[in-house]
């Protein structure tokens, strides 16, 4: 599939990896739909793409809401008449271990709250499901060639302190295999699905963190630096253009290893 002339929808397109993906597609001649939570951020990205002569709309939406998902899919079709690419970059983290012990008594002093669990599952898993489901519905009904791109994470392997996030991301990473299996079963041949599992990426979430902690993370990255959002975007662009990539999730980590030296 060619990027130029296609229509790409990017959730979480108002910041971080999603912003880079949206701008990557716009720069290469795709029409872009920015979906985000913060209207101020959406306005900024939409203006920057407009100033670069890109075709774009911005839609404020909550990816956990079916009504909002229906809204941004419909807005896509009203604005551009079709949908070819859906990238689910919307995601949050609420880290914490399942149990925290009191250092003196050794008893449990704190449990991971249901709110912290559910909010991450809602955005990172349910939001991805709703976006892919409704995007696929539009693509099937419209008869357009399509690519679904769930954004997982290298921490799908199970990261300490991220029980909620890792659980959601491992499920996101499985989606391409399930979706394409179902598409084959249903005779849907015009849509592919390729997941992307980024490693530690230069987004505001990481650059704003404790610099010593960041240095410790980078010590385990063979590349010796954070992955750039543009590098993730370029990988997704390759997935669009390479029709043989399908039913899999690709890791792009710069060679992230466990401290023991085994690649994650």
């Amino acid at each position: 599939m060619e990027i130029k002339g296609s229509v790409a929808l990017v959730t979480g397109g108002d910041d971080g990896i999603g912003e880079a993906v949206a701008k990557f597609f716009a720069k290469r001649g795709a029409k872009v739909v920015i979906v985000g939570r913060a209207q101020k951020h959406i306005d900024r990205v939409v203006k920057e793409i407009k100033d670069a002569c890109g075709a774009v709309i911005g839609v404020q939406a909550d990816v956990t809401s079916e009504a909002d998902t229906a809204k941004f899919i419909r807005a896509t079709l009203v604005a551009f008449g079709k949908l070819n690419i859906a990238v689910t970059c919307a995601g949050i983290i609420h880290d914490g271990t399942m149990l925290t012990l009191d250092k003196v008594t050794g008893k449990v002093s704190h449990k991971l709250s249901l709110d912290k669990w559910q909010s991450v599952i809602d955005v990172d898993l349910t939001g991805t499901f709703l976006t892919l489901r409704d995007a696929a519905e539009a693509m099937v009904n419209g008869g357009w060639e399509g690519l679904l791109v769930p954004i997982a994470s290298v921490n799908k392997v199970g990261q300490v302190g991220q029980m909620n996030y890792s659980s959601a991301k491992v499920a996101d990473a499985l989606m391409p295999k399930i979706i394409i299996g179902e598409f084959l079963m249903r005779g849907i041949r015009n849509i592919r699905c390729v997941g992307i599992a980024p490693g530690y990426t230069r987004t505001s979430m990481l650059t704003g963190m404790n610099q010593d902690a960041l240095k410790a993370i980078l010590a385990d990255v063979h590349l010796g630096r954070l992955v750039e959002p543009d590098e993730i975007a370029a990988m997704i662009g390759h997935c669009v253009e390479n029709g043989a990539l399908n039913a899999t999730t690709i890791e792009i980590t710069g060679g992230l290893c466990y401290p023991s030296g085994i690649a994650k």
């Binding site: 029409k31 209207q39 306005d43 939409v46 203006k47 793409i49 407009k50 002569c53 890109g54 075709a55 774009v56 709309i57 911005g58 839609v59 404020q60 809204k71 419909r74 807005a75 009203v78 604005a79 551009f80």
Partner: protein
């Protein structure tokens, strides 16, 4: 440039080089871009209609919460009494209790 107001928001639609730009007026008077390079090669009247449809889609009408009118004179202590506007065309006089609803 065409202007219209929808759901208490002011919008402007402008034909630019390769298509249409829709802008939304912010509270400080500045304009924020809703969409750009839209409806290319579409006749003007169709593009304007499509722009209005797009605005209604992106900004659906919800429930507008209007706070209590604390200056209204009809008060009993802290309780404000506001009678129904029986002349309003949407006013319905319902004189049956719920037990009479059809099962």
């Amino acid at each position: 440039m065409k202007h219209f107001t929808y759901n208490d928001m002011a919008f402007a639609i402008d034909k630019t080089g390769n298509g249409w730009t829709i802008a939304r007026q912010l509270p400080d008077g500045a304009l924020a871009v809703v969409g750009a390079e839209l409806f290319q090669d579409m006749p003007d009247h169709e593009a304007v209609a499509r722009a209005q449809t797009l605005v209604r889609t992106i900004y659906p009408v919800g429930i507008k919460i209007v706070g209590p009118d604390v200056t209204h004179p009809n008060r009993v202590g802290d309780l404000k009494i506001v009678g129904p506007d029986v002349n309003h065309p949407n006013f319905i006089c319902w004189n049956k209790d719920s037990t009479s609803f059809a099962k």
